[in-house]
């Protein structure tokens, strides 16, 4: 680190540099300015696409921003905390719907992340050793991850059609499990449909990450354990799972954030208005904003969502880092 730019100093001195100054001086200035210059384009764009919109989003949440003011949002009257109190007034329709959507999202996220993790880990553990067809299977398992979301989800929507879909054909016509063909994209079943699609799409990521984590476990550990007479289950419990802990901590957090914020899947599956049983929060905010054209409440809900995510992530990071320190000690 300390020697980094020194050798280049003499050559790089700008032509206008004052002659009597010590020779290293221009290099020093350059060295201090250089990282900022490298970062400048990124900083400008971050400002443009993240920081300014976030500030505006927070300002918006304090305004009465209905469709009449979209063209000139500066003119929208201040609402103070009205949008917030409207969003969290759980006795009134808007707050009630938001709370419902929040609980649906939480349940959905827990189930989806849990199942993705379980499928991904099981597959990765089974495929830890080499066997015939392993490379092929690995490529197959990555297909849901590679398919564009809308193409995959549209196919699932087709499969969940009541009259011409595969799901009812199998469940009703072929297996006779249901009395009549069910609706999957409206009503209570829509939660199940959304979960199936989400797990199908999400588990390969868990599989990828766990597989990479497994590769970092030294083979000698297993050999030593085998000599000591540990069976496969014991090896899994004593070596594999503890070694995967740091990987799992990152994986679960990432899966949680993706699933909780997912918009693409419910939007393609259900359209602009999701059924009540599958009304995920991002769709809910989208609908509050672009269907009823109330940007003020939509922004207030977004800010609340952000605060929730920050708190959950913060608590999670504190808990897991403490766990890690405990494990190191």
């Amino acid at each position: 680190m300390t020697v980094t730019a020194q050798p280049a100093v003499g050559k790089e001195a700008p032509p206008g540099a004052p002659a009597p100054a010590p020779r290293r001086r221009p290099g020093r200035v350059r060295r201090i300015a250089l990282p900022y210059l490298l970062l400048l384009p990124a900083l400008l764009l971050e400002l443009l696409v993240h920081l300014v919109p976030m500030v505006i989003g927070i300002v918006m949440s304090f305004k009465e921003l209905t469709q009449f003011y979209i063209r000139d949002w500066g003119a929208a009257p201040w609402a103070g905390f009205d949008n917030y109190s409207l969003s969290v007034d759980f006795d009134a329709p808007i707050g009630k719907a938001l709370l419902h959507s929040f609980f649906v999202t939480c349940a959905f996220t827990v189930l989806s992340v849990g199942l993705c993790w379980l499928l991904g880990t099981t597959a990765a553990v089974y495929m830890q050793e080499n066997f015939r067809g392993r490379g092929f299977l690995r490529a197959v398992f990555l297909v849901p991850y590679a398919l564009p979301v809308y193409a995959a989800v549209i196919t699932w929507a087709f499969m969940f059609q009541r009259d011409n879909g595969l799901v009812n054909h199998v469940l009703h016509d072929q297996l006779g499990l249901t009395d009549s063909p069910s609706f999957w994209l409206i009503g209570d079943n829509s939660f199940v449909a959304l979960l199936v699609v989400s797990v199908w799409k999400g588990w390969p990521f868990a599989f990828l990450i766990v597989m990479a984590g497994l590769q970092n476990i030294p083979k000698e550990l297993y050999e030593a354990a085998a000599i000591d007479g540990a069976g496969m289950i014991q090896q899994l419990r004593r070596i594999t799972m503890p070694s995967l802990r740091p990987v799992n901590q990152v994986l679960v957090l990432v899966l949680f954030l993706w699933t909780f914020n997912d918009f693409n899947t419910p939007y393609v599956l259900f359209g602009k208005a999701a059924p009540e049983a599958a009304d995920l929060i991002s769709i809910h905010i989208y609908q509050s904003s672009f269907v009823t054209w109330n940007f003020g409440t939509g922004s207030a809900m977004s800010v609340l969502l952000l605060l929730f995510l920050l708190v959950v992530t913060g608590v999670y990071l504190i808990l897991t880092s403490r766990g890690r320190r405990g494990a190191d000690a």
């Binding site: 980094t4 730019a5 050798p7 280049a8 050559k11 250089l34 990282p35 900022y36 210059l37 490298l38 384009p41 990124a42 971050e46 443009l48 696409v49 993240h50 920081l51 300014v52 919109p53 505006i56 989003g57 918006m60 000139d72 499928l119 597959a123 089974y126 066997f131 299977l137 297909v143 849901p144 590679a146 398919l147 564009p148 979301v149 809308y150 193409a151 995959a152 549209i154 196919t155 087709f158 011409n164 879909g165 595969l166 009812n168 390969p204 990828l208 496969m232 740091p246 954030l257 918009f263 693409n264 991002s282 905010i285 904003s289 672009f290 940007f295 977004s302 800010v303 952000l306 995510l309």
Partner: protein, 279 residues
């Protein structure tokens, strides 16, 4: 150590079921895309009654699919190139220099990745509409406007992944290059970038895939001429009928380039993703 028979059998059963689950939609997509319309409109059949390539011809005229294709290609491509190039400079700065505000920068970049897209959608929508009103520059509905919104997810991801990648390139290499008379930028492009090619490929593939599949911004920020595939594919559903065979054919056509690219480059992507995540 030879695995016990029970293990081999449980593995076979589990992996077979999982493969079935994974490939089921792929089979439906492929088989339905080759069925005549009356076949996909009626009860589902595992085996098509007759095969036809008609849907693959009709998809181009039912909706302007080629136009959407070009739009998606331009938007996803530009967002990818822009974020990767900018991220290369930023990641080099962060991985090789110590400076004031470095931690703030990395924490900001990391944390914006966790924010939901909907958080940026509303303000960006308003900003675009108001810039349009004030200056006459139509960002709203334009490809450039959409590309900028895609940077909300592709830029932080690219920066974050490339920092990890550049840090794994030994510092001695670029120091040696500088001793040989290169400036810092010379060292970046002659040594660090070539050494990190797999990482850069991984980031580019990922950024492109995400942009290619993006729905939220595309559904709000586009109009008739700039619509991308993500929105355009909804056009096969008319008021009376959904041309499911065409929907499936179009889905397959738009998937083939990304899936093929992904499977070709997955080695890099997997290495890149995991280098970032496992650390």
């Amino acid at each position: 150590m030879a695995a016990p028979r029970s293990f081999v059998w449980s593995r076979r059963i589990f992996l077979t079921l999982l493969t079935g689950f994974v490939l089921l939609p792929v089979y439906v997509m492929l088989s339905s895309s080759l069925k005549p319309l009356e076949d996909v409109s009626g009860e589902f059949r595992w085996v098509p009654s007759g095969l036809t390539i008609r849907p693959y011809i009709d998809i181009w005229s039912t909706v302007p699919l080629a136009k959407y294709f070009v739009n998606s290609l331009i938007v996803a491509g530009a967002a990818t190139v822009l974020s990767v190039v900018i991220a290369i400079f930023a990641a080099y700065g962060v991985s090789r220099y110590r400076f004031r505000g470095k931690r703030l920068f990395t924490v900001t970049v990391l944390s914006t990745q966790m924010f939901p897209g909907i958080l940026f959608l509303l303000p960006l929508f308003l900003i675009y509409v108001n810039i349009g009103n004030a200056t006459g520059i139509a960002l709203f509905g334009s490809r450039i406007g959409l590309i900028l919104t895609y940077l909300t997810f592709s830029l932080p991801f690219s920066i974050w992944m490339l920092i990890g990648y550049f840090e794994s390139v030994p510092r001695d290499l670029d120091e040696a290059a500088m001793v040989d008379g290169n400036g810092p930028l010379g060292a970046l492009f002659r040594v660090v970038v070539p050494a990190a090619v797999p990482g850069i490929v991984a980031v580019a593939v990922y950024a492109f895939m995400t942009a290619w599949g993006e729905v939220l911004f595309a559904s709000v920020m586009t109009n008739d001429t700039t619509r991308t595939l993500a929105v355009g594919l909804q056009g096969y559903a008319t008021q009376n009928d959904v041309y499911w065979n065409q929907v499936m054919a179009a889905s397959l056509v738009v998937s083939v380039p990304v899936v093929a690219g992904f499977l070709l480059l997955q080695r890099y992507l997997v290495a890149g993703l995991t280098a970032g995540a496992v650390k």
